[in-house]
Symmetry: D2
Subunit: 409 residues, 4 copies
Amino acid sequence: MSTVTPLHRAALDPPRPALDTDVAAAAQQLAAALAATAVERDRRGGHAHAERELIRGSGLLALSVPQAYGGLGAGWPTVLHTVRTLAAADSALAHVYAFHHLQVASVLLYGDAEQQQRLLGATVQRRLFWGNALNPLDTTLIATRTEGGWRLDGTKRYASGSVGSDRLTLSAHVRVAEGERGALLIGNLPTGAAGVEVREDWDSFGQRQTDSGSVRFEAAFLPDADVLQAPGAQATPRMTLRPLVSQLIMANLYLGLAQAAFEAARGYLHERARPWFASGVARAVDDPYVQHRSGELWLKVRAAQLAADAAAQRFQQALDRGDAVTAGERAEAAIAAFEAKALAHHAGIEVPAQVFELIGAGATSTRLGFDRFWRNARVHTLHDPVDYKLRDIGRWQLLGQPPEPTPYS
Amino acid sequence: MSTVTPLHRAALDPPRPALDTDVAAAAQQLAAALAATAVERDRRGGHAHAERELIRGSGLLALSVPQAYGGLGAGWPTVLHTVRTLAAADSALAHVYAFHHLQVASVLLYGDAEQQQRLLGATVQRRLFWGNALNPLDTTLIATRTEGGWRLDGTKRYASGSVGSDRLTLSAHVRVAEGERGALLIGNLPTGAAGVEVREDWDSFGQRQTDSGSVRFEAAFLPDADVLQAPGAQATPRMTLRPLVSQLIMANLYLGLAQAAFEAARGYLHERARPWFASGVARAVDDPYVQHRSGELWLKVRAAQLAADAAAQRFQQALDRGDAVTAGERAEAAIAAFEAKALAHHAGIEVPAQVFELIGAGATSTRLGFDRFWRNARVHTLHDPVDYKLRDIGRWQLLGQPPEPTPYS
Amino acid sequence: MSTVTPLHRAALDPPRPALDTDVAAAAQQLAAALAATAVERDRRGGHAHAERELIRGSGLLALSVPQAYGGLGAGWPTVLHTVRTLAAADSALAHVYAFHHLQVASVLLYGDAEQQQRLLGATVQRRLFWGNALNPLDTTLIATRTEGGWRLDGTKRYASGSVGSDRLTLSAHVRVAEGERGALLIGNLPTGAAGVEVREDWDSFGQRQTDSGSVRFEAAFLPDADVLQAPGAQATPRMTLRPLVSQLIMANLYLGLAQAAFEAARGYLHERARPWFASGVARAVDDPYVQHRSGELWLKVRAAQLAADAAAQRFQQALDRGDAVTAGERAEAAIAAFEAKALAHHAGIEVPAQVFELIGAGATSTRLGFDRFWRNARVHTLHDPVDYKLRDIGRWQLLGQPPEPTPYS
Amino acid sequence: MSTVTPLHRAALDPPRPALDTDVAAAAQQLAAALAATAVERDRRGGHAHAERELIRGSGLLALSVPQAYGGLGAGWPTVLHTVRTLAAADSALAHVYAFHHLQVASVLLYGDAEQQQRLLGATVQRRLFWGNALNPLDTTLIATRTEGGWRLDGTKRYASGSVGSDRLTLSAHVRVAEGERGALLIGNLPTGAAGVEVREDWDSFGQRQTDSGSVRFEAAFLPDADVLQAPGAQATPRMTLRPLVSQLIMANLYLGLAQAAFEAARGYLHERARPWFASGVARAVDDPYVQHRSGELWLKVRAAQLAADAAAQRFQQALDRGDAVTAGERAEAAIAAFEAKALAHHAGIEVPAQVFELIGAGATSTRLGFDRFWRNARVHTLHDPVDYKLRDIGRWQLLGQPPEPTPYS
């Protein structure tokens, strides 16, 4: 009678997997510990040694390391969810934590089997904390060929997580001749190596404890064994997945901030806020405009959550394809990540700003520190311009043009 | 070493189920057939007999009917996806189609086993098309107790899909005394029953072929066997799921319109649009502002898609709980549906309006009919005020207060 | 004691001039007459002969003509205010009316004293209605040198007000060789001249009665006496003021539409709207969300009003400088006009769309015709892309870079 | 021939008055002096004694005092323009300055001729700086009748400009019986009076140097001669103008902040910003998205400027009506002020937030202090909820309902 085949509905609606309970609990516990001092540390800025040790002690630095190397072997949806959880408590240390995992990803994407085994094995066994000095657009770090490796000279700025790290990934340009830069190499070395100096010169009004110092290299030695990507190596689609990890980290950080601002406002509304005298209601939460705006703000959070979850799944699918991943699959994962990042950017800027309309002047006390959500989101969302992400999404939708793989896309 | 347990990543990332291929193909084929005449029929308005027969012929009227009664037994995620697909082609007939399924849901939610067997069996076997005359807020239809049933007198306005339908669900208020209304009953009867007259008096500037006429009842007889919910029956949480079907239908309709407008603009940009003389680019699609705005608009579509998919899943979970579904689970499904509807409302209004900034004055020819996306979305999004949905979402987020089950929430 | 000089406050606060009473009354009266049939004529489209005669009969076609030539000699703030008033009643005929004045301005800006005397004198005495065929970007109209003038061949599309006009201004490119276009000339001729044919081929979903047909020229003769700007004449800053008249007309048209939509909603709220059942108020106007959104929408109207008034004043100042007006003064007037147009664009699109949130589904009846505000604004705001106006404003603010004088800026 | 009377155009277009040159220059000079240390003082918070002395030395404290009492006798458009100028440099001290003038207005609106002569004469001669302790909604300050005046006991919180002031206006409720408050009185006394103690307990993340301490009264004596409004005096429309001064001050403060943020971004773009690597342009100011967004942001500033100027004029007109001002005229002035405040609120929040999209991560250095524009605007815009201003504007537009005169409206 019918022209279409009967369906087995059950097959259409699989249960959504819960985030693994233990990891979620560990992240929540760590978040609570960070939250306890987050307002005070935001004011102080600088390096948060004790809190970095809390992160190290949580075991979560091993989360992205494959089980083959002793790690927890979590997928990126799980890793990114922990970033979001921590960001809601302390987005600066969440960044330090997330960028550790970005370096783990770098070893997995660029390194060979021996390097992965050695470096990631040590990461788990010695609980190493990685920092970032890998930014190909910052071209001042020069690698000069020397016996058994490279001599590094120059500086990397905005090196997130570098202060207090154990090991750094880095990019450098090969010296061709005096003042002439050649191909790019990617490597890694111990932060404490001779000739490496990390300066605490990060000075922004937000994300103040991200340890984003400058790393100065003066005749530092990078042995060949620690070169992850040789100069001039052709980038495969798989290798270009690294910036997507970075983009997804941003999305989850912004989202965590939006969630945290929303929750802070909710708590304040219940515990302290008084209704506006002209509202005619007994509690601030009963004000029709407070309810309506809460609904509007929540939708910004919600849209970003859904997009971040979808993008993490899509990224993992691309990663799971291994070396077979195509430029087209990489493009799809990139666009999903950009969608998530743009929606989270919007939520991260707007929600922390607008919650004040709900909670009023009394909520601006520095003791509460509610401005930090906006300051942190405002600084971090400038990592790369959202307008170029919107352009890339537009190009993809209109033209099917994949975003050009760059350190920022 | 680590304080958390290793994970099995695979378990975290199940494949997302593809929509069943046959159903999707049937919906696409039907959509293409409807699209061929949609612009012309939008201009004409009125009843679209031939196109309703196309729908009937597609077999998709049986989609939501359980297999036990001979139907396809699809879950609501699948049914709603077909609504979205059809809405992108012709949102008026998609509404007629969707409201048929809403009546099927009504029989499933309110009717007893005998009624389900008899009415839904006939729906499949005789390919019945259902229309809606169930709106408890419209209280002019009066049921007077009579031998073996009820005598119905009065009118139901805005009865979507009533014109040309085979069978109608309806709500009526029991006559207590002259001019005094009592409890509500819900029933159904053949549209061609004696004393039932459908008037084609729908007159809006959008959704013109939704057959939303007035149904006039004059001494029509509703036998007890066709009363789905007896007067004054206590509504269980499960029975209050019906308005959520309605809300989800709206969300998918608005979303289909937003998608269709975006796609129409994309096509026009490629085929006809010329770059603005001051842009300095050779093709309109290369204009940086066209690309950027396309990215912005796409994000509205994308957020609504993700929310609509999530809400459909959540609704199905509640439905699958059967009579055990609690008020709290109903509330969660309701909020998910409201989130989807509010985001789709926004996308449905904004995308069809703003695509014109991409494609310019030449795209306003009545031959193209690109204004219909906005007109259809503008009319349909007024079904119930979005401001009260935002309020309900806010109440839920701030207070954990479940939305009151009403015909609109 | 004080370090600053006492002020005479009175000098700081001059009274704002009221719009001349007679002109305002005449415009109001004309607007009321047009409004009576606007909904029905919008549906019908085509040429509105009777209503054009009402405009002619009002005497307002002489409004912008200097008193020296028998006109009313109103300043542009006054002329543009009448455009706004008429646009609130019937934006299509307001466009026809406004474009008549744009052609008057063209004679004043491009023509010599003899031409002004002759053409504008006739305009007043014979109550001529001018139409537009002047669009230098449409380069298909060719002027070939011939005895005592030029032979015109080709077509001008989107020639607003051409159908039913008495006289047309036009631009044409001089024929240099077969298929090769040379310099631009600007002229004017009677619409009924031999070889001139106006086709009613305007087919948009809005602004349906703007008489924006195509003008086909076949060996039409343009005598030298009616050439307003000789081929290749160097454009002075004063001559580049014409597109600003056009931009200001748009701004006032969009604004009139926004005002009209707001007023229609206000009327409907009082006369017909019912409160939403969940609102708990007795009248729709008492709904807190209706009040709040009305406030938001009003601010869009208000901002556009203030900017349109300021821009008209600034334009008049530039015009009053006569030939002495500098490129810098022209730039300031242009930016003020763009500010007004961009704000009115926003109000013109948003207010007619969002008022439906205030008034609900019942207000979508085609009998009311409330969708015409949006359709008219949507079509008209595509005259030139708002994104390039925003760019020009940005360039001015960031760089002090004057907008390039073009037919659209 | 024409049905309307010729116009004299000149009469329609009076020159807009330039702000009095000397006052503007004095304000600019003072602004420059404040700007020099504003970033550092924002970080420090607390009382800015030296800068308050700069304000005192400028002579501008006499600006609003009528010439009859030795003041400069400026109108409120002029006074408010100086507030805007100072706010662009240092919005905290601009608030202190503006609230001084609010107290001058209070003496003019509530006081009798003798009080005006005595208090304002002294204000000019002794260069007194006034602070605010007048907030009728804060009902903890109790006045108990005593010989020749009132004994004051209790506290006023958020008393802007109180720290370091010479004189305070205040409101208090008359003690009727133990714990029972009666009618309101308004008075003023020297900040140094016995029993008056100002505490520096202002602790917000923005507007840090507004000296908004708590004023504690312990058996302070308010002589009858310094009671400006006797308990229970009926408020005339003129007396209800005071909150409009306050609202207009807010509007100009927010606007000054928006302007300052825009100018800071412009300066940074020229001096330091580098183009985004993917932009393909040589200078950041040439980026199409930077230009476009600058245009958008400028429009927010511009709309607020126009509304603030219009509201100041409208307020002055109401004030100039003296005791004859009606409730209706007061309502019109109030709505104009609310329009200005709501638009400036929007500009004040959005522009300081979004300029960072133009200037990027490098502009977040704490040395530049660019976050202070947002922090200051965010804190100050919470003075009273913008949602209730939008509601009041909506009520006025829909119902013609005048806003209820309260301390906040």
